[in-house]
Subunit: 224 residues, 2 copies
DNA sequence: CACTGGATCTGTGTATCCACTTATCCAATC
DNA sequence: GATTGGATAAGTGGATACACAGATCCAGTG
């Protein structure tokens, strides 16, 4: 399975979809980097279409917060300041807390086994490339939220994941070992198994804010 | 001051901006109703431009969740199911709870006076037309969140307000008296004055979920 | 009555053109 | 030598015309 999407990829027709996918993947994987200028002409020829679908894709990406369109000055890949990164994690913490709260009542014994399985996969990916770990990590979280039966909530969470994904990759490549991946997430599974909704929500919030703190720690003294 | 925006209105150039504003206002005010088909040709001539900027505006609106674009079948105004409405209120409750938590430490005595003033305006608007009350109500909430210094959070909250605005208008026109507007919001101000961050967040969440319950009550037996 | 096969409409993509803004660079000037 | 100013290039934004494909509708057929 390839990358997932920030907004509904089926909203828009063939060529526009392809342009959107192409650009989205490019940004997520870090091939297009923050501040890079995106020239419709070039991208259109790159993927073999005219400029219009590309321009339309820009608008979707802008709404996702992935690029910035300034009148008469074209389209650049958006970057996040440190403040914006922590703001994003704050939003994640409350939204994903809500998602856990909604998902927990839907969980069965099978669900927990599935999560254990995904955690294993994530750990194995941790040994290899950073990008892969990030995807497995998203997959693990998504497996929980998908049970919440809250499509709009899930989509919003997804969009936030996408926005910070490039930074997660950079960070992961730097620390290059799967932090306390097992401990952190095993704790989460245990909290879910216990069935205490309030507690599970709190664990999820702490998990996310904890990650934010680690990432801020890494970025702050380094970039200054 | 006219209507505010879901996404950054400055992202896009003159004609596209105008198309976006026009469509956004139309949806918010209920001039375009859920299920209405939006024909680029018609709208383009309506506001005196070609179809291209209109099509681009569609993409932004689709990303905001206000319209639906189905491949080869054009653009229709999105409607919310009852489930989606309550899902939206759930998301509002946690996001606006977070916003209050961030805003409270920034508040001064002046802030509270300002809120009282806005509450008065809201109450006066309540006596008149429903649409005006909805705007004043948004204004009151926005006054709090704007202190949070969280631009992305504020934007997201705004987008959610816009999505449910048509339903708020319908509902308000039906009940036609400002519910417990003063009590509800006065309680909120008092909680803020007390300075207890946890409590203020809880009050905000209850306020929003309470509104959701009222709205669901109105919609559920009526539409069935 | 269900199904088939156009005819038509409309959404979508392409190609091209043009006006206007922004960016770049070089030379003249202080 | 730094700054200003203007010529020039590049790129955006919009309009228009056209080709094509998928949807929709309707009548004719079995």
């Amino acid at each position: 399975m390839p990358l997932s999407f920030a907004t509904d990829p089926s909203a828009g027709s063939t060529a526009e979809q392809e342009a959107y996918r192409h650009l989205l993947q490019g940004v997520r994987e870090g091939r297009y980097r923050a501040g890079d200028r995106l020239i419709p002409e070039d991208i259109a020829t790159e993927i073999g279409m005219s400029r219009m679908p590309v321009r339309e894709a820009f608008r979707r990406l802008a709404a996702d917060g992935l690029v910035l369109i300034r009148p008469n000055r074209g389209c650049v890949v958006a970057g996040l300041t440190l403040d914006e990164i922590s703001e994003t994690f704050e939003m994640r913490s409350v939204l994903e807390g809500l998602a856990v709260r909604c998902a927990l009542p839907q969980m069965t014994a099978d669900s927990f086994d599935e999560l254990e399985r995904l955690l294993d996969r994530m750990e194995r990916a941790g040994a290899a490339s950073g990008g892969d770990w990030v995807l497995r990590h998203q997959e693990f979280h998504a497996a929980i939220y998908n049970l919440s039966r809250r499509p709009k909530l899930i989509r919003q969470i997804n969009a936030l994941h996408v926005v910070i994904e490039p930074y997660m990759r950079i960070w992961f490549d730097y620390v290059n070992k799967p932090l306390s991946a097992r401990d952190e997430h095993q704790g989460l599974i245990d909290a879910l198994r216990a069935g205490d909704v309030k507690a599970a929500e709190a664990v999820m919030q702490d998990h996310i804010l904890g990650t934010a703190a680690l990432l801020a720690d890494y970025a702050s003294p380094d970039r200054r």
